[in-house]
């Protein structure tokens, strides 16, 4: 009988003492944290892509609860996450327009010649800093995949020496936009499919020399649209994504085929 009694007493005593400690800890050491922060963190997808402008999902969750940040900033989460957040916080869901990244350059190896043989670090920033990049066009995609390396979901593929974003894989995190030393990547509404795939601000003759599919600033496309959906910025035709456009006329008229439907 004695061993059983001793065991029971030891275990029971230890348990009692520890529970006392736990009670004290719960009373004096507890940290006040809004439980909703954790709930929001659980709702967010956990990609930590930084597309919302905060360092990670947990930071964004804290910002939503503490600073009343907008709840529609999480692009990877999409409509589902927005709805869950809205339900949880009792707000109305106002979905932000779904945007995807696009590389505004179509000058692949076949179309855009190089001006020298680059020999060095395979990184767009490094290549851009040496002699202004090895592409004859000083605005075009250098093709050293700096954007593809930062893409958290592998949505950017290097084909023919230039980067292409797969719109259906893009989670709108904007990491690639920040990574491009030539600012070629733009976020555009995913519903829009007609783009001017050129960013060269050079005059027509210079563009012609540098690239077969560059915008030469002929303004033909702007005359095919009725509401300035495409307008000129200097010598470059630019799509105004705020206005709807669904006409093949600019595509057909463009002499260098730099306007395409994706």
């Amino acid at each position: 009988m004695t061993p059983i009694l001793a065991t029971s007493l030891t275990i029971g005593g230890a348990g009692l003492a520890c529970s006392g400690l736990l009670a004290l800890a719960a009373r004096f050491l507890s940290v006040e944290e809004d439980p909703r922060v954790e709930e929001v963190t659980n709702i967010l997808p956990g990609a930590n892509c930084g597309g919302c402008g905060f360092a990670g999902c947990a930071n964004y969750a804290e910002a939503i609860i503490v600073d009343n940040a907008a709840i529609n900033l999480c692009a990877p989460g999409g409509a589902d996450v927005l709805k869950s957040l809205a339900d949880m916080l009792g707000q109305t869901a106002q979905a932000a327009e779904h945007k995807v990244a696009i590389v505004l350059c179509n000058g692949d190896t076949a179309n855009a010649p190089r001006k020298f043989e680059y020999n060095g670090v395979a990184d767009c920033h490094a290549a851009h800093a040496i002699g202004g990049g090895d592409k004859l066009c000083s605005y075009g995609c250098l093709g050293y995949a700096s954007c593809a390396r930062v893409c958290p979901v592998g949505a950017i593929e290097m084909t023919g020496g230039i980067a292409k974003v797969h719109p259906d894989l893009c989670i709108s995190c904007t990491a690639c936009v920040k990574a491009c030393p030539r600012q070629l990547i733009k976020m555009v509404p995913s519903a829009r499919t007609i783009h001017v795939l050129c960013s060269s601000k050079d005059k027509g003759p210079a563009v012609k020399k540098a690239c077969k599919v560059g915008c030469i600033g002929c303004t033909l496309c702007t005359k095919q649209v009725d509401d300035e959906q495409i307008k000129m910025e200097g010598f470059l035709a630019v799509v105004d994504y705020a206005k709807p456009l669904d006409s093949d006329a600019p595509i057909e008229k463009c002499p260098t085929h730099c306007i395409v439907r994706t």
Binding site: G15, C18, S19, L22, A26, R149
Partner: protein
């Protein structure tokens, strides 16, 4: 059927050793022979099933803040039972497993299943989970133990009766020493990843290993960056 699903997931999809990489301490320490591996695996399985069942039954009674101490008490109880039972009925095995039987208390698989599964699911699913995970754990240990014993001792012996011997093979003692455990586990994990990557390729999907098994999460070399 849900019961069946929870039962088989531990064998392959969420195998505690090869996929979750949990319970590494016994996986490296006791797998010097198949016999030890089997003993360790069965002991852990017993504790896992019992603790899952009890945790599941108590899940609505345990306050959230002190759930970990409660789980530990439950687990410790069953570990003590197993420890005493083995000492009584399999004394030799108990002696060769030594400290690793009491150490089951802090095995992350058992605590992990209590926290992640049993405290959120009903009794019968928790028991299924316990059986599956325990079997997966045992399977992992036995595979590892068989590899190491075969290469390190040149033969496999179970309870002195069953014995297979590699004829004409000079045992590599390294494999039953501690470094052999790491090498065997690493090679088996690598092989698993390779097989899955090939299977995924055949299916036309992309295999992405868990982060802790992925080349990209390691900073040793620039491969895969």
């Amino acid at each position: 059927m849900k019961f069946w699903k929870e039962l088989v997931k531990g064998l392959w999809k969420e195998n505690p050793i090869f996929r979750l990489v949990l319970g590494m301490c016994p996986a490296l320490a006791v797998t010097t022979s198949v016999e030890n591996s089997l003993g360790m695996g069965l002991a852990a399985t017993f504790v896992l099933i019992c603790s899952n069942a009890v945790t599941s039954l108590l899940r609505n009674l345990i306050p959230a803040k002190v759930r970990i101490p409660c789980f530990i008490v439950v687990i410790a109880t069953f570990v003590t039972i197993v420890d005493m039972l083995m000492d009584g009925f399999a004394h030799e095995l108990h002696k060769s497993l030594g400290i690793f039987i009491p150490l089951i208390v802090v095995n992350c698989i058992i605590l992990g299943r209590a926290e992640a599964f049993a405290s959120r699911h009903p009794l019968w699913l928790s028991i299924a989970d316990g059986i599956g995970m325990g079997a997966g754990f045992t399977l992992g240990l036995v595979v590892l133990g068989a590899t190491r014993e075969l290469l390190g001792a040149g033969s496999i012996t179970i309870w002195g009766h069953l014995k297979w011997t590699l004829v004409g093979y000079e045992p590599m003692i390294l494999m039953i020493l501690a470094p052999g455990g790491f090498i065997a586990l690493g090679c088996l994990l690598g092989g698993m990843n390779h097989l899955q990557a090939r299977a995924a390729k055949r299916r036309g999907t992309i295999f992405s290993p868990p982060a802790h098994l992925d080349c990209r999460s390691c900073t040793m070399c620039t491969f895969g960056k």
